[in-house]
């Protein structure tokens, strides 16, 4: 095991897969000359050449459309959209073309494409640069959507995504790139399945159902709560579509209480979808309504103090847990 950053983990995944498979190419804005907006792609062009690592014009629809066509023609493109906020300009290609191609063409073609993009707020980037829109894509059949929270998962899921025969949206987080974590030594092959979540911390009193950067907030909250005798189980759902529902249900069968924690907007989003599924299949195991910690239902404000109030922090989770866990536990 080594300790590397989330950014490095992603880069390693691409390097290894590019070395392994000539069909893998990487395209996007500023991935070469600029060195990658978040430096994820740094050095790839020098190593693999500019036929395989391609800076594109500033035009998201053509980036994704070209990647889709190349994938349908048998390549394994990894398209980088600079942030998920710009993916709206490519949403038609993702939803109407790529997600439907195999089905509407009667199984004659597949779209082995990876679209990588960071989401998330918290760095004062303002209303247009702080969104978390994974539920848009996860709503649509025809693709997989994953959101790794650790360097280990970032590398393992990106490698799995590149090898996958279907379109995978790998949604990163702008504030995770510098986060460090353990990954196997170079040369030790591994992938992380795209349809499995993972329990990050065991606990008997409440299940924190979460994903992406919020996993880390939940772990911090759980540490804090442990001091008062409340044991929270942190369930990293990382697979958004297909969702690892049993993982959540098993946890709730044990704890009987759940809080969904996410950074995005509350209404008609990912967390409500997860909650609805847990209710649907785990109703009898629930002793209380599921709590929901989310970003505030507003465009992201710029001002530091407002932004801080707009996105969940550790204490929001702690408060939500205290509200839902009966006093007898927290004694």
């Amino acid at each position: 095991m080594r300790t590397i950053t989330y950014r490095e983990a992603l880069r390693e995944a691409m390097r290894e897969e590019m070395a392994r498979d000539q069909r893998v190419i990487v395209i996007g804005e500023d991935i070469d000359g600029y060195g990658g907006t978040y430096a994820v792609t740094k050095g790839l062009a020098d190593e693999f050449g500019r036929e395989r690592v391609r800076d594109t014009p500033l035009a998201e629809e053509i980036i994704v459309g070209t990647a889709i066509g190349a994938a349908m023609a048998g390549m394994r493109p990894v398209a980088e959209i600079m942030t998920i906020n710009f993916a709206l300009l490519a949403s038609d290609q993702i939803v109407n073309a790529a997600a439907k191609a195999r089905y509407m063409f009667g199984g004659q073609v597949s779209v082995p494409l990876v679209v990588r993009m960071p989401a998330g707020g918290g760095a004062q980037r303002g209303a247009q640069h702080s969104q978390t829109l994974e539920s848009w894509f996860a709503h649509v059949p025809g693709m997989k959507v994953v959101m790794p929270a650790t360097p280990y998962d970032a590398k393992g899921m990106l490698k799995a995504a590149i090898r996958d025969e279907d379109m995978v949206l790998l949604i990163e987080h702008e504030l995770l790139y510098g986060v460090k974590g353990e990954v196997p030594d170079e040369g030790v092959e591994y992938t992380v399945p795209l349809n499995r979540g993972e329990v990050r911390r065991e606990g008997r009193d409440v299940s924190l159902i979460t994903f992406s950067r919020s996993v880390h907030l939940c772990l911090q909250a759980a540490e804090e709560l442990a001091k008062e005798g409340i044991e929270a189980e942190v369930v990293d759902m990382r697979a958004i579509r297909p969702i690892d529902l049993d993982l959540a249900l098993d946890s709730i069968a044990k704890t009987h209480r759940a809080i969904v924690v996410e950074e995005g907007w509350k209404y008609y989003g990912t967390g409500q979808g997860m909650a609805a599924l847990i209710y649907e299949y785990g109703f009898d195991n629930l002793d209380a309504p599921i709590g929901h910690v989310t970003g505030v239902d507003t465009p992201a404000p710029y001002a530091k103090n407002l932004e801080k109030a707009a996105f969940p922090v550790r204490n929001d989770i702690i408060d939500a847990v205290r509200r839902i866990v009966p006093q007898r536990v927290a004694r």
Binding site: G65, I68, G69, G74, M75, P77, Q93, R102, N195, D246
Partner: protein
């Protein structure tokens, strides 16, 4: 740029080749007429966009391609498919949503795909096929397959941002492709001069430094000449071309459209004087082909269309298991993956 015209020598083609081209145009015409009937009878649902009137573009362009080459198109793609080699039976079955359809009935009229013959999709979001075509061309360039990618779209599609982004990329990356705009003067009810701030694509091509040719889309041999040059440029020099083929759809936008936005006379003039099949028949006659031969070709096409309809009629609907088949390669890719217990 003047509109290219073929000379009367009939382009150095053999009699068989000429008659085959003629057959292909008739096949499209008769097939589409039959499809229109089946739609009226309720055997075809949804939208149905006929290619009648534009046959010379599809036949002229695609007959110059090789089988390995790629064709992408819009919802008005039956003609392109037939020329590229799609079996008319399977095509009609697809239009009727039958299990024997080229996409097993799951795509329908707007989404024809025939992997074997390189007909790589009818797309029904206007303009969206252009970026995807760039991707096919990029793959061909990267893998040195020497394939040409040809993408068809309408005058309306030019208005979409996708056109702009695709044109720039194709020229910038020197992609081996041919953009074919079938300018049939209308996008639904919108006359092209009300939608385009300039009335030609020539300056649009120049905006990207791309090669451009305008061609009379009713003149089969002229289309073939233009196609040849563009295809050679793509295959031998890896350079894209934008072709503007002037044509006219003789029918409404779709079967639901009475075409009230254009005058009956205008349409009638085109049908009478500019029918690409009649124009080509005239040339064949002038070159010595007799009427009986021409009639036999039409008859054969008519029969093929009939046969296609019969085939579709006699075919079963897809099995209900198809409803959730082939959403993705991975059948566990569906939502709510459950752990094996």
């Amino acid at each position: 740029m003047a509109i290219s015209k073929s000379d009367i020598s009939l382009a150095g083609l053999s009699r068989e080749e000429l008659l085959d081209l003629h057959y292909r145009m008739w096949l499209i015409r008769r097939f589409e007429e039959k499809a229109g009937e089946e739609y009226t009878l309720g055997k075809i649902g949804g939208f149905l966009h006929l290619y009648i009137g534009q046959e010379a573009v599809g036949v002229g362009m695609i007959s110059q391609l090789e089988r390995k080459d790629n064709v992408l198109s819009s919802y008005r793609e039956h003609g392109h498919a037939l020329v590229k080699g799609t079996d008319p039976n399977k095509l009609m079955a697809e239009l009727c949503g039958k299990a024997t359809g080229v996409s097993r009935g799951k795509g329908g009229s707007m989404h024809i795909f025939d992997a074997k013959n390189g007909l790589l999709g009818g797309y029904a979001i206007v303009g969206a096929q252009m970026p995807i075509a760039c991707g096919y061309a990029l793959a061909a360039q990267y893998n040195h397959t020497n394939q040409v990618t040809m993408v068809f779209f309408g005058d309306g599609a030019v208005d979409e941002g996708a056109f702009h982004e695709a044109m720039n990329l194709a020229e910038l990356w020197k992609l081996p492709m041919v953009f074919v705009c079938e300018n049939n003067l209308y996008s639904m009810g919108m006359a092209v001069q009300k939608a385009w701030s300039v009335n030609s694509l020539e300056p649009r091509a120049a905006a990207y430094g791309m090669e451009y040719e305008k061609v009379d889309g009713m003149d089969l041999l002229a289309v073939r000449d233009t196609a040849k040059r563009a295809i050679d440029r793509a295959r031998n020099e890896s350079r894209p071309t934008l072709i503007e083929a002037l044509t006219y759809r003789f029918r409404g936008h779709s079967m639901a459209d009475p075409a009230a936005y254009r005058s009956k006379e205008e349409a009638e003039q085109w049908r009478l004087n500019r029918d690409p099949i009649q124009l080509f028949a005239n040339r064949l006659r002038a070159a010595g082909v007799d009427d009986a031969t021409l009639q036999a070709i039409d008859d054969r096409a008519t029969q093929a269309a009939e046969d296609a309809a019969t085939f579709a009629d006699n075919s079963p609907f897809p099995d209900l298991s198809e409803l959730t088949a082939d959403i993705m390669v991975d059948p566990t890719g569906a939502i709510a993956w459950r752990r094996p217990r």
